[in-house]
């Protein structure tokens, strides 16, 4: 088993998850930051729920939900003809659900601490709500995005409970590096585990440090 195969798979998974989470989490965060509904705390709590369950347990429920008999899984099978579970797509979906709060919370915070004034200025300068959102709210909330990206990226790299459950540890398809390391530890293959851990940590460190350097450049005002 190559040491890089699982890493590459992990990177793909973390990347896909992060991209989707930013795409999905941003509107959710924005809505939460702007809404005045009484239900806001409830929605916030719901968004935070995925991390409350132990990953394997969450994985178990997702296995049922995404499985061929599950609500989402059966619909997916009808749609595409193939099952969600034990596939990379399934992994991505599961990871997204699990890491959702890590993306939403920091982005929401950043949106909430954005002075309303800036949006109002943008509107009066001719920017539509959407335009103002992208040209003012997003760049001024960069810090929140970086946090959200870092947390969901790193967390997805490290997650293995959900991934193991939904993915089925299939080499080359759903055996990500976290599972591979886990397997090595379990089978008392400590040297290999150490090597892989080092690789994972080194890689993640490089990515995150780069991220933070960029963030710093950008937010230098």
């Amino acid at each position: 088993m190559s040491i890089f195969g699982p890493l590459w798979l992990s990177v793909q998974l973390a990347f896909a998850t992060t991209v989707i989470l930013v795409l999905v989490g941003t509107p959710v965060a924005w809505w939460l930051s702007q809404t005045r509904t009484r239900w806001k705390p409830v929605v916030q709590a719901v968004v935070a729920m995925p991390i409350v369950l132990p990953p394997t347990v969450l994985g178990f429920y997702l296995l049922i939900l995404l499985g061929p008999d599950g609500a989402i899984g059966s619909w997916w099978v009808q749609l595409t003809g193939s099952a969600l579970t034990f596939s990379f797509t399934g992994l991505v979906i599961a990871s997204c659900i699990y890491s959702l709060p890590f993306a939403v919370q920091p982005i929401q915070n950043a949106f909430e601490s954005l002075p309303k004034h800036y949006l109002e200025r943008a509107w009066t300068l001719g920017a539509s709500r959407l335009d103002a959102f992208f040209s003012v709210a997003v760049p001024l909330s960069l810090r929140g995005f970086v946090s959200g990206i870092v947390l969901s990226f790193a967390h997805t790299l490290g997650e293995f409970g959900v991934v193991l459950m939904v993915g089925g540890n299939i080499p080359g398809e759903t055996r990500v590096i976290s599972i591979a390391i886990y397997d090595h530890v379990e089978s008392l293959n400590y040297t290999a585990a150490h090597q892989m851990s080092l690789l994972l940590v080194g890689f993640a460190f490089a990515v995150l440090a780069t991220m933070f350097v960029i963030n710093r450049r950008w937010s230098e005002r």
Partner: protein
């Protein structure tokens, strides 16, 4: 005319406005701190309650009381923000930048600007949007007088060259007198007076105006130049003012502050006061224990003089008296 009809309650404060203001020229909104000036502008811009057209479609240029530039954009980025989103482009960017003296800081970030510099950039940004209506909330409060004097003419041009109506909030009556054609007086959220500047200003009974703010505005055309001075003909007489103004036949506005006008029974001679006009007293209105406002007619024009009650007694001033109005200084708006 533009109909301004806005009702808004915020805590104890209620804004209740229903007036019409001209859709050309500059309308001044004058009132004390907390009288609701900013609230009114926000209503007009559509920022207070979301009804009617969305804000960005109203095409108003709003210069906020607090500049609050976008911190992530350079000064250039801030200025161009509105320009890029403008539907029409009637404003010459270079001109605006030069007028406001911000050419040297285009590549800086807003955080490094002084208070006045930031406000100038904010003004430029609002103008570059080529708006149909400009709302200005005390745009000059943080600027020194020199810069203020430099900018005021530009605001004029705004509606003259671009024929963009402006609603101009200020607590400086001199600024307003110099700029505006129409004046709205706000007090505690209510309009206490609204009308032509000339009319509102010459009322002696407006508490808010009867103090140091009193004064009138006269329309007059430049007819002669001499010694760096310009002679203005206002139909019923002449007034000299410093500066060279083109004799284009277009009448300009002269602000004569009540505190710059004194009254003499005899024709004064050998004085440095340039302008001495024959006038008849129309009304004497005691403002407080010491001072009074005297309204005089010079032909069809009104003049206000701020004098002491003692002088009123000594000179026995009363309506109908023929006197000489001595005008020490005049502010001209080009």
């Amino acid at each position: 005319m533009i109909r301004l009809r806005h009702k808004l309650t915020k805590g104890d404060f209620t804004l209740d406005v229903d007036i019409e203001v001209p859709d050309v020229g500059i309308t001044g909104v004058f009132g004390e701190s907390g009288s609701g000036k900013t609230s009114l502008l926000r209503c007009i811009a559509g920022l207070e309650r979301e009804q009617g057209l969305p804000v960005h479609k109203r095409n108003v240029g709003y210069v906020f009381q607090d500049p609050g530039l976008f911190p992530h954009l350079s000064v250039r980025g801030n200025i161009e923000y509105g320009e890029r989103r403008a539907t029409t482009h009637r404003v010459d960017g270079k001109l605006v930048v030069d007028m406001l003296g911000i050419g040297g800081m285009l590549d800086r970030k807003p955080a490094s600007l002084s208070g006045g510099e930031a406000q100038r950039v904010a003004i430029a940004a609002a103008l570059m949007r080529s708006p149909d209506l400009v709302l200005m909330d005390e745009p000059l409060a943080s600027l020194d007088r020199k810069r203020r004097d430099e900018l005021l003419p530009y605001f004029d041009r705004l509606h003259e060259e671009l024929s963009v109506p402006v609603i101009y909030v200020s607590h400086d009556i001199e600024e307003i007198s110099r700029l505006c054609d129409h004046l709205v007086l706000l007090d505690a959220g209510k309009v206490v007076a609204s009308g032509r500047l000339v009319d509102v200003l010459s009322r002696v009974d407006m508490p808010v105006l009867s103090g140091r703010n009193a004064g009138v505005v006269i329309w007059a055309s430049p007819v002669d130049h001499e010694d760096g001075l310009t002679k203005f003909d206002f139909g019923d007489g002449d007034i000299w003012a410093p500066g060279s103004f083109p004799m284009s036949g277009v009448p300009l506005r002269l602000r004569v502050a009540a505190s710059d006008v004194s009254i003499s029974r005899d024709q004064p001679t050998s004085t440095t006061i340039l302008n001495i006009l024959r006038a008849s007293v129309e009304e004497v209105h005691a403002v407080d224990a010491a001072t009074a406002l005297v309204r005089m007619g010079v032909g069809n024009q009104s003049l206000l003089a701020r004098v002491t009650n003692r002088s009123v007694q000594r000179l026995e001033l009363k309506a109908g008296d023929r006197v000489f109005a001595q005008v020490k200084s005049v502010t001209v708006r080009h």
